[in-house]
Amino acid sequence: MTTIQKKSVLGQDNPIAHLTEADIEQIGIELDAIRQDVLDSRGAADAAYIRRVIDTQRKIELGSRAVLLFSAFPPAWVLGTLGLSVSKILDNMEIGHNILHGQWDWMRDPKIHSSTWEWDMASPAEQWKHSHNELHHTYTNVIGKDNDLGYGIMRVDEDQPWTPASLAQPVFCFINAVFFEYGIAAYDLELGSVIAKKQTKDPDFRRRAKQVLGKIRKQATKDYVVHPAMSIPTGSFLPTLAANFTANIVRNLWSNSVILCGHFPEGVETFEKRSIDGETKGEWYVRQMLGSANISGSKALHIMTGNLSHQIEHHLFPDLPSNRYAEIAPKVKALFDKYDLTYCARPMPQQVYSAWHKVVRLSLPNGWLKTTNAKNAPQQLGILYKMATGDRRTRRLLGRKLESEARAAA
């Protein structure tokens, strides 16, 4: 992947080169109209929808936790774990993520409001809202500004230099997926950069760190102490603990996959920092259109992804109620077609594969994967070994050679 701005310089296809300033402004006007339609028709049916989802999630959670009181009995364990996983996913995705976006603030219900909501995951709502709503949604896919791209720990673009440490990134990426809620908490805390800048004594950081630790302690007490303890009478302490742990991991893997699908699959564009100076509303819209990818699938899939399967629509209109994304998707897609832009939508397995393929590809030097086949694998591995162990000069020389071979092959 190369930022959209470099593509023109390198003679690659720039997907927005054909758009005039007037086109971009018109796209903005048409998207504003789609948004206004939803605002005008927002009402009782939408309010009933979110209340129904919350009601369902809470009943599933109550039911699953009740079943898990008997989790020493294997079928109860399986059923309870499944239910709790579903409940946690609904809580985080369709309910928490979307309420914290302010999608339901218009209802003026103090119990369903972005300023009062808290969710079943390690990161406190307040901190997540800052890193997600303010940073990620504003600077979507701008390299160096949007840390959601690789969470600041991964190589997410060919233009970033390859180092031997990049080789470990599929492993890091997988560990991050398994413990995603803690990864998010650390990320919202900006733990990495705070440690790097030696700002751990900063009082504001201390306050936020205390908040995160408090939240994690409460979450862990619930899942790993209180509910297992309530299961002691049936001899189900450990099975319940294991069930809660499993449900948290399932939720982590699922939400990580959904989020990877949103901005990481092939075909999603990235942007240069400079390109957003003085960006107009129309240009912002176009960046959101090309910087996001959808997952196609059933209604159930849309709900379980918190409608982030409509990531494009969500990024265009982060504060519209999530239940409306499906309805406006055809209009948004028609706009893409009208202006000859690529609406990136594929089924989930393909998007997940595409995202992981990219993680692996970028963990290797540019061009390595492309120039490697079954026949030359031993030599290629030799080159990789030399690049990983050699000095910077070796890396640069071998890297250039790989890139030119890859270009020639293309």
Binding site: A44, A47, D55, W106, R108, D109, K218, T221, K222
Partner: protein, 376 residues
């Protein structure tokens, strides 16, 4: 409200600690939610829940007025006739709060009622009168208001206009319950001598007119009904003729601002006591408006006619609110900097940092008058 002193119970401290512990365990089991969030799914009217109620029936009074009978939650603390109730109801998915007088005295079946007249462009009143359905869950606050009769009795004149009858009918129904055997006159009403001057556009448009006429026929009250179409608009100067012993009476009045203002001037000149209850306030010409910045980061560009409260709610903010007409102070928020304009009289309030400090302003009747910063 009465208070009952309970004798100290031994062992109560112990149960309290055990109870507290159980609550803490329950909270630890449901975090980040509260046990109440789960109980609300099944029993929204239980003791300990946020105060709510369920609409039991909607009974038409006139073509554009209806009485809404509500079963309040277990923690409803009762009311004194004449008091009002703040009710929150979801209309088109949006929570709307309004205040209405309670129109039944405390009832034996524990139900409460409000009587609502649908006013033109009145979102909530039209919804309650024409669309509200039995079974709907509504949000309530405790009864409030000082517009009540002293229990020891006395001689009173009630001046009511239109739906201004609602707090008064609550008082009268409590004093003189109407039964199949006719109007009762229990001991509590013995010391009350009441004249009601009721003003309405016409007889058919007069809410509770049959109740008033029945009370008059039974000799419980003296009713002086004045219909605009029949008698012309009431001139407060005529009160002395309509009620010859006016000077001996304490006046309680409820109706539109124009009537109350005229009555206020009349009574002040005559040196008479007047207690009023107002439903809607008169508004002056709008000013220029301005940009309002909230501490939460929201910035709104407002015109000079829209109350800050309405605009902020429209933008999805959660705002404290109360009577929505500038009386109860339930909506006050500190104005850090800038000017606001009182929509009732045009008065400007200006906060200057370092000079005035924060000034608490009523958001329900103030509009922006230039750029302002509000601490909310």
């Amino acid at each position: 409200m009465s208070t009952t002193l309970e004798p100290p119970v031994r062992g109560r401290r112990l149960t309290k600690t055990v109870g507290d512990r159980l609550v803490r365990v329950a909270e630890a089991a449901t975090t980040p939610y509260l046990p109440a969030d789960f109980m609300d799914l099944f029993a929204p009217l239980r003791p300990g829940a946020d105060l709510r109620g369920r609409i039991e029936s909607v009974e038409p009074e006139t073509a554009d007025a209806a009485t809404i009978v509500i079963r309040p939650g277990a923690d409803w603390a009762g009311h004194v006739p004449g008091q009002y109730l703040r009710i929150g109801i979801d209309i088109d998915g949006v929570r709307q709060w309004r205040a209405y007088s309670l129109t039944h005295g405390p009832r034996r079946d524990g139900r409460i009622s409000i009587t609502v007249k649908a006013v033109p462009d009145g979102l909530v009143s039209n919804h309650l009168v024409h669309q509200a359905r039995p079974g709907t869950l509504v949000h309530l606050e405790r009864a409030a208001g000082e517009f009540v009769l002293p229990p020891e009795g006395g001689k009173f004149l009630m001046v009511t206009a239109g739906s201004g009858i609602t707090p008064v009918i609550g008082m009268l129904r409590n004093l003189f319950p109407s039964t199949d055997e006719g109007v009762l006159r229990p001991a509590r009403s013995a010391e009350h001598d009441i004249v009601v001057v009721h003003v309405a556009p016409s007889h058919p448009h007069s809410i509770f007119i049959r109740d008033l006429e029945a009370l008059d026929a039974a000799g419980a009250i003296r009713l002086v009904a004045r219909y605009d179409d029949e008698h012309g608009v009431l001139d407060v100067a005529d009160l002395a003729t309509l009620v010859p012993d006016l000077a001996e009476r304490t006046t309680l009045a409820c109706g539109p601002a124009g009537l109350l203002d005229a009555l206020g001037a009349h009574h002040e000149a005559a040196g008479l006591t007047l207690t009023t209850e107002q439903f809607r306030t008169a508004r002056v010409e709008p000013g220029d408006g301005g940009t309002v910045t909230f501490a939460s980061g929201t910035t709104l560009a407002l015109d000079g006619a829209t109350p800050i409260l309405d605009a902020a709610e429209e933008a999805g903010m959660l705002m404290p609110s109360g009577c929505r007409m500038g009386i109860c102070m339930g909506c006050v928020i500190p104005l850090r900097e800038g000017s606001v304009r009182d929509l009732r009289n045009g008065a400007i309030t200006t906060a200057v940092p370092g000079e005035t400090g924060d000034i608490k302003v009523q958001t329900c009747i103030n509009a922006a008058a230039g750029p302002c910063h509000i601490d909310h």
